[in-house]
Symmetry: C2
Subunit: 398 residues, 2 copies
């Protein structure tokens, strides 16, 4: 760009089937354009209250604090670890992917000591390994795990781990960035103490808001810290005075338009029904998996442990990962995700989340893959993917 101003903004209208962001429902797009309000305007405070109330329903919590942190899912992660952990605390972290490794980094930056329980990428964290690790420490402040590991496509069951956390009097912290709103998760019933997510996956907002839920027990721990969190921006005891206080105390100027979109997204989500939405994400994910297998592609995670709405598929031997994704993007205007970390170049990550979770999306993608893959050296039987996925959708609707 030469000195001076750029041309007018004109991004292409891509079908977003990667790990997020996803496409946005037109009504949610419209909410972005609603008039701004000051951060202490009574009409704006009403909007915050609506969001809290609907987030409590989405999370399934009666007494927990439910608010939106100003940032991506990673802001939710930083909020959780920086508020729950104090220097010198021990946290046990189940590590079976890229995002759990991030937790280890961020926990260390708080001056805490992370003790990791490793599992292979693409596999579950084993509760018996976690039990062994917990038993090694005199006092564990928190146990943390990723519910839906976006780097591997694995959905981690939470109940046994919650039980272990409880029995060791540790706070149970769950990363639900990719699962909340798409996969079953019930905060109170499972016994979670801190959970964070992100708007741009199954909830359906543009990126930039991170809904969190905090149990009364975790709030007590936060309010009785010995030292302030290193992070002021994500300090929950201060954020709480803004979101919940009898007198609202200014903290930082929140991202109005993203909160507007969150309110609208939550409204549409609850109107659809939470269980209906989980089922939609499962149904479309299942049809995609069936279609991909009918094309002869291999899935990374078996059905019983998979995130239904984020499917990892192996890049076939001899096929160039980047070239296929580039052709999908250029010729079909479709984005799918590449592999992260040790899966780089080896897998594709296909998300069907929020508004992108639809028969149109998955059938179009399968059609595009059927047409493209032979050109890149991988033969498929014509029509097989679409036919198999179509049958799965028909069965599901009967």
């Amino acid at each position: 760009m030469p000195q001076g101003s750029a041309d007018e903004l004109a991004p292409p209208d891509r079908l977003l089937l990667g790990p997020g962001p996803c496409n946005i429902h037109p009504q949610i797009v419209r909410a972005l354009t609603a008039p701004l309000l000051g951060y202490l305007d009574a009409d704006f405070i009403d909007i915050l209250d609506d969001i809290s109330e609907m987030l409590r329903q989405l999370y399934g919590t009666k007494d927990g604090l439910a608010i939106a942190v100003s940032g991506s899912g990673m802001a939710g992660m930083e909020a959780g670890l920086s508020n729950l952990l104090e220097p010198g605390d021990t946290i046990v972290i189940g590590v079976n992917g890229f995002f759990a490794e991030r937790m280890v980094d961020i926990a260390s930056r708080q001056g805490a000591t992370p003790a990791t329980v490793q599992a292979e990428w693409g596999h579950l964290v084993d509760p018996s390994d976690v039990a062994k690790e917990l038993a090694k420490h005199r006092k564990v402040k928190a146990l943390a795990v990723v519910h839906a590991e976006t780097s591997t496509g694995v959905l981690q069951p939470l109940e046994d781990l919650a039980q272990l956390a409880r029995s060791h009097d540790a706070l149970f912290l769950v990363d639900a960035v990719t699962s909340l709103g798409g996969s079953p998760l019930v905060f109170d019933q499972t016994g979670i103490d801190f959970c964070y997510s992100a708007g741009q996956k199954c909830i359906g907002t543009p990126p930039g808001v991170a809904p969190i839920a905090v149990s009364p027990k975790a709030l007590r721990a936060i309010e009785s810290r010995n030292v302030k969190p290193h992070s002021w921006y994500f300090d929950i005891s201060l954020l709480r005075q803004y979101w919940q206080g009898a007198t609202r105390v200014y903290h930082h100027t929140p991202p109005n338009v993203l909160l507007y979109s969150l309110r609208e997204a939550l409204r549409l989500l609850l109107k659809e029904g939470l269980e209906e939405r989980w089922e939609r994400h499962r149904r479309h994910g299942h049809a995609l998996r069936v279609g991909l297998e009918a094309l002869g592609l291999r899935l990374v995670v078996p059905e019983e442990h998979c995130i239904h709405h984020l499917t990892l598929v192996e890049v076939p031997d001899g096929v160039d990962d980047a070239k296929v994704r580039g052709a999908l993007r250029r010729e079909y205007n479709i984005e799918i995700g590449g592999g992260l970390g040790k899966f780089r170049g080896k897998v594709w990550r296909i998300g069907l989340m929020g508004y992108s979770s639809s028969p149109a999306s998955l059938l179009f993608l399968l059609s595009a893959l059927e047409t493209l893959l032979p050109r890149f050296g991988f033969e498929v039987s014509p029509g097989a993917g679409v036919a198999a996925a179509g049958r799965s959708l028909v069965w599901a609707s009967q």
Copy 2:
């Protein structure tokens, strides 16, 4: 709200004349609705590059890093302090208002030792006091000051302080949340090392993006830290790999739509011309001040030290602060700001920033005050405010 989803979002269309957020230019609102892209999409990276290039022009820096942090102005503050400071470092902070006090808190949370140079609220920080404080310490890592202190309406001259920082080999950190794009500030020429701002003041975006500029010297300090910053989310050496790296490395999912709005806002700003924009903010601010004085109201800060686009006016004796602001809001749909901290209940803060900086805004506000104030016990001479402001605008246009 009962269990279930809320009504459709319908915030009122308020004229925003507080300390921010401000009203948004319709073309910038439209940019919010542009299609989303993945965070590593080549078309999205082009948008980041455009933003960086235009931010360098806005800041007036040739070799500095110019990017947008995902958050409000306070995220910019946290990014600055958490990246420049390591545990044990000393930072000298000029404190003459609410936001400088925040810097002290955030610096402490990084494990640094803040040494403060106090000045009365509504007054300048005295460079000779800063010189004395700097001389007390063997090694000072940074000198920090707020350029436009939103809590007091004071604009702090930067040149002498920059010179002092240089002569003590300290990094010079400047809060330009309220000044950037509205008041003259030239990063390289003044010799600033770290500067942060916020989109929702004079730049003209909705809240949620914090443009920062970092000098090569500050970048070297960041890259040669002994320990990682406590904040991962705002870690500039990681953010830099995403915004600038030859291979872009995923850090967090940035807030697409807010970055779209920033790109559009910067485009319009540079099209208007930076100096023309400073002059517009000065001209309208001056007309407002003239009008307020003609109404018999008293300004907090003398002309030579004031932020032209954020005017503090004393709440007259016997007039109820909250009632006047409430009536403005209910009857005229106008927001102005109340006082923060020790100015609570004592001042009104009137912002004419970005798209809100217009003759229409200031004349409407003066008309509304003329009509309202007598009802709350403060007599004004009818028409005096609008007439005086109108004359000032006419003179300025000749």
